[in-house]
Symmetry: C2
Subunit: 449 residues, 2 copies
């Protein structure tokens, strides 16, 4: 094994990331709400010694339900079920900072960390669509900067709550005290968005804090990641863009006083695997044939905030699109699509096909060797610490990645042969965070030891 090895996350979505995956003959159109489907996927990923599985989320019905399986089981309860059905793999769920209360969410993730024996992670998102806002009393989506301000405070409150019980504060002395009251703390937070007294009613999670994951690549998103994230999911179309993002984010972390090694950057890839190049290409074509253009046009219109119709299909994007500053929804995804279209001179039809596999994530169609080669290249060129694997079709795409790509990565000394750690932090090579109350108490000299 070389010293530095890569990290792999399996992004589980429905019957695959490709928007038309559910229309294939082998796909189960009801799998999106079937817990057995997610258990099967998590077990496949665990067989492949992936660091983690991951579930995305948005608290709204976001898409045209006629066109695609649009419902989804709430991820934190799915994680609890997966915790019982797996042994070692990390379990990451998305939850919104815009539409939750920190006490409730910090507690759920602490509980998940206990239930899974230290395998829980939280993908911190602000949610970029008005549909979600409408389900929580807002007439309009709160502004991008307001959402990220709330996210920042939300994360800080959560961290304080996880620390509100010092490690081993529970004593369990049957003839004396169950816990040491001196090591259980109110947090007394009063901020712009939240007032939370604490302490949490769950002891400190096995990992100290669940793993913190972040996935928005706007300026505000990168700052949140640099301050708090330990794993970062990102969509990067080209190696150069990937390297620039990687260097930028590591540098931001460094400037905030962090060791850049403690923030793992995982670009997404959509592998389409064939025994031969021809077979991989055939699979791509099969998927493309199932794309419904009207629907894809509408989704692209929503993302870009312009109305595109059939007559635009064979034209380039309009020239007068605003810059990212004028966007209040998902800023970085907007920029990625516009840049990609301009760079590669794409028509709207071509954009739609590029986005159909992974909504902006890079699709790599090829043989297992070609895919392993590309991953190695990104990994050794300073563009990635690992990858967010987003199979176009599930479970088959994950199975073939585990059976055919993972062995090649192992042969090259790039990926673990078996789990060496027990917790998600251990899989990612990250240490357990110190407890701020323990530190303050020791600094104040109030501890006997």
């Amino acid at each position: 094994m070389t010293e530095r090895t890569m990290h792999l996350n399996a992004f589980l979505m429905n019957v695959g990331h490709h928007e038309a995956a559910w229309r294939l003959p082998q796909s189960d159109p009801a799998a999106n709400e079937d817990i057995r489907h997610y258990i099967e996927l998590a077990r496949i990923a665990e067989r492949g010694t992936f660091d983690s599985v991951f579930l995305a989320d948005s608290p709204a019905l976001r898409t045209d339900v006629g066109q695609r399986p649009a419902t989804q089981l709430e991820p934190t309860v799915v994680l609890a079920a997966l915790a019982v059905a797996t042994e070692r793999i990390g379990l990451v769920a998305t939850a919104s900072t815009s539409y939750n209360e920190p006490y409730n969410l910090a507690r759920r993730f602490a509980s998940l960390d206990h239930i899974s024996g230290g395998r829980a992670g939280w993908n911190i998102v602000t949610n970029a669509t008005a549909e979600a806002a409408h389900n929580f009393g807002y007439d309009e989506l709160p502004s991008h900067s307001e959402r990220y301000r709330r996210a920042e405070e939300f994360v800080e409150v959560s961290q304080r709550l996880w620390d509100s019980w010092e490690d081993s504060a529970e004593l369990g002395e049957k003839s004396g005290a169950w816990a040491d009251t001196d090591r259980v703390h109110e947090i007394d937070h009063r901020g712009e968005h939240f007032a939370v007294r604490g302490p949490l009613n769950v002891t400190r999670p096995p990992q100290g804090h669940p793993l913190l994951v972040q996935a928005g690549s706007s300026e505000d998103g990168k700052n949140l990641a640099a301050a708090h994230a330990e794993a970062v999911f990102t969509a990067q179309q080209t190696l150069d863009e990937g390297k620039a993002f990687y260097a930028d984010l590591k540098d931001r972390a460094l400037r905030l006083g962090r060791d850049p090694e403690t923030i793992k950057i995982l670009p997404g890839i959509v592998p389409v695997i064939g025994d031969t190049e021809q077979e991989a290409a055939r699979r791509e074509v099969e998927l493309a044939e199932h794309v419904v253009h009207g629907y894809a046009l509408q989704r692209l219109s929503d993302t870009l905030g312009v109305l595109l119709t059939d007559s635009d299909l064979d034209r380039p994007l309009p020239k007068d699109l605003p810059g990212e500053d004028g966007i209040e929804t998902a800023k970085s995804r907007y920029t990625l699509i516009v840049d990609m279209a301009r760079r590669d001179n794409l028509t709207v039809r071509q954009i739609i096909h590029r986005l159909s596999g992974g909504r902006g994530h890079r699709t790599i169609a090829g043989t297992p060797e070609q895919i392993a080669e590309t991953l190695q290249h990104w990994f050794t060129s300073g563009a990635a610490d690992g990858f967010n694997v987003m199979p176009a079709v599930l479970p088959e795409g994950l199975e073939s990645f585990v059976d055919h790509v993972v062995p090649l990565l192992r042969e090259r000394g790039l990926f673990r042969e078996s789990y060496s750690g027990l917790t998600l932090r251990e899989h990612y090579g990250l240490s357990r965070p110190a407890n701020r109350f323990t530190r303050d108490r020791r600094a104040a000299g109030t501890s006997g030891s």
Copy 2:
């Protein structure tokens, strides 16, 4: 079997409901956060063909952590784990209407219902302590009537969200539509507390709605129960009080146009089981010997809103306690304790011992025959449709109930020999609710069928 059979719920709390249970030699003081403990308990209850297991909750650290295991895994994630670890038993979790958003909670319960194949139930509570309010931005506990007004609106929004997908709106036609957009509805709720557009992003739960459970017996609590609850947990000290509560609640339901059969009333009982009366008494004494009076006095002081000290131990309660109208916390529990103390002329020390087993629920110490006899008597006298079984010590108290009391109830034709239904509603003999949007659509004649 007689026609009418009883329903049994196992109330799982820590290592038992008795406040000193954790101090017994056989108890594991860390079990409160150990998912394996809850899985073991749920499997024991399932072996006993209980209708359901139940987890209480409050989003705050509520008690003196030196005196008792005080932390608790968040119940909805625990339920998801139990769903995967059991097959048939119903799974009821408590969640607060005061400190959640309806979209999030309705979605989690819908997800739990899908994950468990129709076995989820929600115990609707408003939370009666200021500690919880302090974790959610409030300086003071919102008033009792305000909390129940919010609860009423919360339940209505949740029901509309569960109905927002009509049954079988998902079609899964690969060459056509995934879902029938005409049968997926925005709810467009705008009320005093919530504005929620919908639709939910989870299809209608297998049970239509998860089972709705309620557990506050104040005037407002009974009205909420009469309007919405399908199972009611309640603390009743005497048969007469139990009969009066039962008749009152069934009558309220009737006056709201409901069939009184569709609301099942389950008083709590704390069984302390011995092979002989002497052994049961010995167990009670052993538990009593572990009670810490200072702690129990403080809890009683909190509940009654008066300061009681050691010097009060051998006196009756103060005479000048206010009526229930003056109480803004847990009204019905307050009244139960004051009434019990006056009726039985109890000193504070005696009150403490009465409350130590089940916080106001009736303790029955005796042989399996004596316990079965008491349950039958309450069941046939119009005081109960079943019982909320709250073992003083867990798992042993649940095991002996399942192994020794359940067989006697079966012999008497009072309890099922095996599960006949698949869902929690089927266990309780309750029908699946009709969908209000289907009804409205049919009434408007917009449906072809």
